[in-house]
């Protein structure tokens, strides 16, 4: 550690004549204090670690260029550029694009309530922040990480979409520039909304929207207790995700239910009452219902378009399947609660498979209603091949299976490494997206032999999901 004088030694008692004489002021050199704190905590190694972060960004950029270009070229390829261009310029496509942007920004605001962009380590919050430093300066580093990340991801996303449109002969250099700038702007806006939401997660005097462009003021508004909560939430979520205990992460992320208590669960036959339970649950958690609806509407529209329109590029089904899968999952809380209960003495009189079937009923019916609506739109527009309906049925089976697999994934039984745990989490979603994309490709190519083989694979996934329910329910005995 370099020898530096304590800032208190540099105290300059105010002697300016026009200042109030009764108030003494202490002049702190914020940069010097922060530099000392950094040096004490991490020394040279911390500086090097920050440089490695820059190197990782550089590698990511190179990787995106080397692998991203051919992937984008492949997935945006279309057989009918004119029709695709007309469809992408239609009011429905523009409305869906706007809805997607709104959903992204809404998700960012939602996330900011629990885990904002500014989350320093606990010791920094406890030991450095109590010092009378300018909080905007003390927290600036973590804000910059998030801001640069948002900028980078936004620009890369915009560049990818613009590049894809150019490859599909739907635009030129100007399109690429416009989408890149728009993506960058969206990234910046999303990061600032994220910070604004973090500020609003704790009571304080200034919570106005103008904090979006007054970043230093927003950082000064961050309360140490709020930072501590967000840091603790991060640890809880990371810890529970790494150990496969998603219930803890879910409970940390969701607000406790406090309304709709006057509605009562109506008694009935076992299966019926379990379905009613899920309906009542969605009535009491309108946020889950609406987020499920938004995601399913968006995913359903893209997937239906991918299956019914020959001009739709191959990537459309892949893009649409993820929100469709997540939307189904938002409605399937009952299924996850059933899985949470495995290993405890049975309270319910229904068998495990009956209970699981009852719990997928509500999300399945809601998804069928949404997909049915989009199929009706496609039929009204004059394009509804029978093969598309059969393929959508397979997608529905995949959605059910994937969500059952996700709920009953249990705990990882291997050595816990972040990469393997991430892969372990992704298996259900990947199964749905990969097989669903294959269904789309085979449907578009009219390869019915391949499609019939694939349908057996889809039913095998369903059988796997049912076996997971049984296996996890009784695994605890061994």
């Amino acid at each position: 550690m370099s020898e530096r004088e304590h800032p208190a030694d540099e105290t300059a008692y105010d002697s300016v004549e026009d200042s109030p004489p009764s108030v003494d002021e202490v002049d702190y050199d914020d940069h010097d204090l922060l530099g000392q704190a950094d040096w004490v905590i991490g020394g040279e190694a911390a500086r090097k670690a920050r440089q490695q972060g820059l190197y990782a960004g550089y590698v990511l950029f190179l990787g995106a260029l080397v692998y991203g270009v051919p992937i984008v070229q492949t997935v945006f390829r279309t057989t009918d550029a004119t029709s695709l261009g007309e469809q992408l310029r239609s009011p429905l496509a523009i409305a869906l694009l706007l809805a997607s942007v709104a959903a992204l920004l809404g998700a960012v605001v939602f996330a900011g309530r629990f885990r904002g962009p500014v989350v320093p380590p606990m010791p920094w919050i406890d030991l450095v922040l109590p010092a009378p430093l300018d909080r905007a300066l003390a927290l600036r580093r973590w804000w910059r990480y998030a801001a640069i990340g948002g900028l980078f991801v936004g620009a890369l996303g915009g560049l990818t979409i613009g590049g894809g449109l150019a490859f599909a002969h739907l635009g030129g250099v100007v399109t690429v520039v416009v989408t890149t700038v728009a993506g960058t702007a969206l990234g910046v806006l999303a990061t600032r909304l994220w910070l604004w939401s973090q500020v609003r997660s704790w009571p304080g005097p200034d919570r106005r929207l103008s904090l979006l462009w007054r970043v230093p003021d927003a950082l000064r508004e961050l309360h140490s207790e709020s930072l501590r909560t967000h840091s603790a939430n991060t640890s809880t979520m990371a810890g529970s995700a790494l150990t496969g205990n998603l219930r803890t992460a879910r409970l940390a992320l969701t607000r406790p239910v406090r309304h709709g208590r006057t509605a009562r669960l109506r008694a009935g036959r076992p299966f019926t009452v379990l379905v009613r339970r899920d309906v009542l649950g969605l009535r009491r958690t309108p946020g889950a219902f609406l987020s499920g609806l938004g995601l399913t509407l968006l995913g359903g529209a893209i997937v239906t378009w991918a299956f019914t329109q020959p001009a739709a590029p191959s990537i459309a089904a892949t893009i649409g399947l993820l929100p469709l899968y997540l939307g189904f999952g938002a409605w399937a809380e009952g299924l996850r609660l059933q899985a949470d209960n495995v290993g405890t003495p049975s309270l319910l009189g229904a068998g495990e498979v009956t209970e699981a079937v009852a719990h997928v009923t509500v999300p399945t019916v809601l998804t069928v209603v949404v997909l049915g609506g989009w199929v009706a739109v496609a039929a009204a527009l004059g394009s509804l091949p029978v093969s598309a309906l059969l393929s959508l049925w397979l997608v529905l089976v995949l959605l059910v299976s994937g969500n059952v697999l996700a709920a009953f994934r249990g705990s990882p039984t291997f050595v816990l490494r972040p990469q393997t745990v991430a892969l372990w989490y992704a298996v259900p979603a990947l199964t749905v997206v990969v097989l669903g994309s294959l269904v789309a490709v085979l449907t578009k190519n009219g390869s019915y032999t391949g499609l019939s083989v694939l349908s057996w694979l889809v039913y095998a996934v369903l059988a796997w999901a049912v076996s997971r329910v049984r296996r996890l329910t009784y695994l605890h005995r061994d």
């Binding site: 036959r269 003495p345 005995r477």
Partner: protein, 218 residues
């Protein structure tokens, strides 16, 4: 659900013990209880009372010995065993979006309770435990003592010929312990077999037809 054998409340555990790797959780122990009996397991913390209850409930396989319920191996995978055993062993996971009365109606319905009177049965049970006024609360809105009473209500709301309870008195004041004792006594008098771990001497004295001392491994 199909036909399920109705098992009598005959609990037999002969020489059941549990060892995981090198650690002995429970030394070989005998427990025997018939309908209308209440057997209290007594022993210091860590002696293996909960492990013994989990083995009797069919939730855990014993390393040594055998455990049966109504003459069948105690195995939770067996639907007949599941139908026979109600157990409060640790905290059951509750639905965060259901109120207390909703939980009881749900359990009652899945066990074939008459729908028309399901609400009344649930409210009556909550009333017995002194928490009827909390019927429209969500589980996360309860104090720790109220939560324990709610867990007992969940356990008692389903039919069972064998009731397993792990320290039902925990977190309860003296008055509420008496209420719980009365409920357990009534269940025993009605012919159920109760096996419970308990640290309360008064509760043990008032309920136990037999006491089994569980000896700690170390």
């Amino acid at each position: 659900m199909g036909a399920v054998a109705v098992l009598a409340g005959e609990v037999r555990a002969q020489g059941v013990g549990k060892t995981i790797d090198e650690t002995t959780l429970l030394l070989p122990t005998d427990v025997s209880a018939g309908p209308g009996e209440c057997v209290v397991l007594r022993g210091p913390n860590g002696s293996g009372k909960t492990t013994l209850l989990r083995i009797i409930g069919g939730l855990l396989t014993p390393s040594t010995g055998t455990a049966t319920i109504g003459g069948r191996e105690a195995d939770e995978r067996d639907r007949a065993v599941r139908a026979a055993v109600a157990a409060l062993l640790g905290a059951p996971t509750t639905y965060r979006d259901l109120t207390l009365i909703d939980h009881l109606v749900l359990i009652d319905s899945t066990w074939g309770g008459a729908p028309a009177s399901s609400d009344e049965r649930g409210l009556a049970l909550l009333d017995r435990l002194g928490i009827a006024h909390l019927d429209d609360r969500f589980p996360h809105e309860l104090s720790s003592g109220q939560e324990q009473l709610f867990r007992l209500a969940l356990t008692f709301s389903r039919p069972a010929s064998v009731v397993l309870l792990d320290e039902p008195e925990q977190r309860l004041d003296t008055g509420k312990r008496q209420v719980v004792a009365k409920l357990i006594g009534e269940r025993t008098a009605a012919g159920a077999t109760v096996v419970m771990a308990c640290h309360d001497p008064e509760l043990t004295a008032s309920l136990a037809t037999r006491v089994v001392d569980v000896v700690p491994a170390r």
